[in-house]
Subunit: 298 residues, 2 copies
């Protein structure tokens, strides 16, 4: 099957910025998000509602959401990990919530302070309340391709968690390679396992930690993914940091998709403008390559 | 078809070093090549025989070849572009020559000072003499995926050049994405076009200029490539240079292949040691990510 289109979910303002040490002001965040919307991105994960002590970069989530441009067909996503986050998300006027559960017990307890069973119960409660308020609900299964503490993660185990999330009312399932260890063969295996338990739209979240992120993204589209996360500029992980954990870059992914004749609806030139804007604010070279190498044909 | 193995051709000592501005001494080149051989790489493109005025880094090609370790099953390749290069290659004791022709008229004349027709005639003459001397002969078609001067390159045009090289006696065909513009769909199209004219073993040379290199390499293996070029550390292009043109990194590629259950015969840990050695000599961070991120499972 050759897919003809895929939706790009821009996560630079959330997963990108929250992993950068330079604090970006509210004005600049709003301008960055506006530039991303101007590039044609229809879904933007703009903020996360987590405790500001844990993620200082997201302390102004409400102020950002109060000022982002609104238009038809443009959907803002807030990431949450618990019901307190949901309260803030509902108050702030996001269109969708992305709720993270984690595939392994150790990572779940360290990252979320919850067992897997507790996180799935929490997801069910959040999903019901969010739907009642008219919000879209995505369940992201973190560490779906491997865990920094427990190592290999079985596709059948991930599929079992996905089934629980689907039964609890998720509108979309996102599978995250949180530590960037997967390869295309893993993507295909995971899609097969998950497709055995649900027909929900599949979204993928890849990091390029070991240079497999773009190959995985293209494999996911070929395997039937309807949406891919990416971060403009590839922000969220410096290529020279001890353990680079950057997201795949929206503009590099959009380039690869356009040359693969898969529509994304985004404007590549405007995307590199948005990436350059946030790169200047962060004061660091961007991991993305397209802005340096240029489009082709030029 | 799921391939079970692929050969990695290490091009760090040649394509990697010749694009680095820091001149590396003969002792260090020999030690680097020895470390690569110790990592299990069976084919190493160790030198190029081009005019030292054009590529100062390769001025000591003969001295390097006189001192590299020799063992059964280890083959050294010298890159050449003309018959003068062949003389030097024959005198220096390489096991194979890699002869470059370029897919577009403008690039061929600028890069090689020859028309395409002239380069194909030259290839035929070189091939005959190299075979008479017992050397293996690879024809590399540069700019097979796109040209910086002429833009799009047609797979049928590349296939026509490949047929000429096959008729002239090439033992192997290498298809090079010299400027790093291709995507996996291009790889599959090109393999299909080339397979219509020859059954020779196919080798691919990818640059990661726009973050598509690893996806292309995996797609090439799935399409039936028998060999892939890669450069340990990803040397030959700085990620922060104005136009990054680095090779895909041998260790990152070997990681992706191992997790895809495709055998390469290389030792990942020893590969990162070799990469770290040359990285220190170059005094710059390496584009490769595995050395920073670590293996998985760890």
């Amino acid at each position: 099957m050759h897919p003809s289109e895929v939706n790009l979910v821009e996560v630079g303002p959330r997963d990108g910025l929250q992993n950068e040490s330079v604090l970006v002001g509210t004005d600049d965040k709003v301008a960055y998000i506006a530039a991303l919307a101007d590039a044609g991105l229809a879904r933007i994960e703009a903020v996360s509602f987590v405790h500001p002590r844990l993620v200082p970069q997201m302390a102004d989530a409400e102020q950002v959401m109060a000022r982002v441009p609104r238009r038809d067909g443009l959907s803002y996503i807030g990431l949450i990990v618990n019901e307190r986050g949901l309260e803030r998300a509902l108050d702030s006027g996001v269109d969708e919530v992305n709720v993270t559960v984690v595939a392994t017990e150790t990572f779940s307890q360290r990252n979320q302070g919850m067992t897997i069973a507790g996180a799935l119960d929490s997801f069910a409660a959040i999903s019901a309340r969010a739907h009642a308020a008219g919000l879209g609900v995505t369940a992201t299964v973190g560490a779906s391709f491997g865990c920094p503490f427990e190592g290999e993660v079985s596709p059948d185990h991930v599929a079992a968690m996905v089934r629980r999330c689907a039964e609890a009312g998720a509108d979309e399932i996102a599978l995250a390679d949180t530590i960037g260890v997967g390869v295309p063969a893993d993507v295909r295996r995971l899609v097969e396992a998950v497709r055995a338990v649900t027909d929900l739209p599949l979204r993928f979240h890849f990091h390029n930690t070991r240079n497999t992120g773009y190959a995985n993204a293209l494999a996911a589209v070929e395997a039937g993914a309807s949406a891919l996360d990416a971060s403009s500029g590839g922000i969220g992980g410096c290529p020279f940091a001890p353990a680079a954990t950057g997201n795949i870059a929206t503009e590099d992914l959009a380039y690869a998709l356009r040359r693969s004749r898969i529509r994304t609806g985004v404007d590549l030139r405007q995307l590199t403008v948005a990436a350059a804007f946030i790169g200047e604010r962060l004061g660091a070279p961007l991991p993305a390559l397209l802005g340096r190498a240029g489009d082709f044909p030029s």
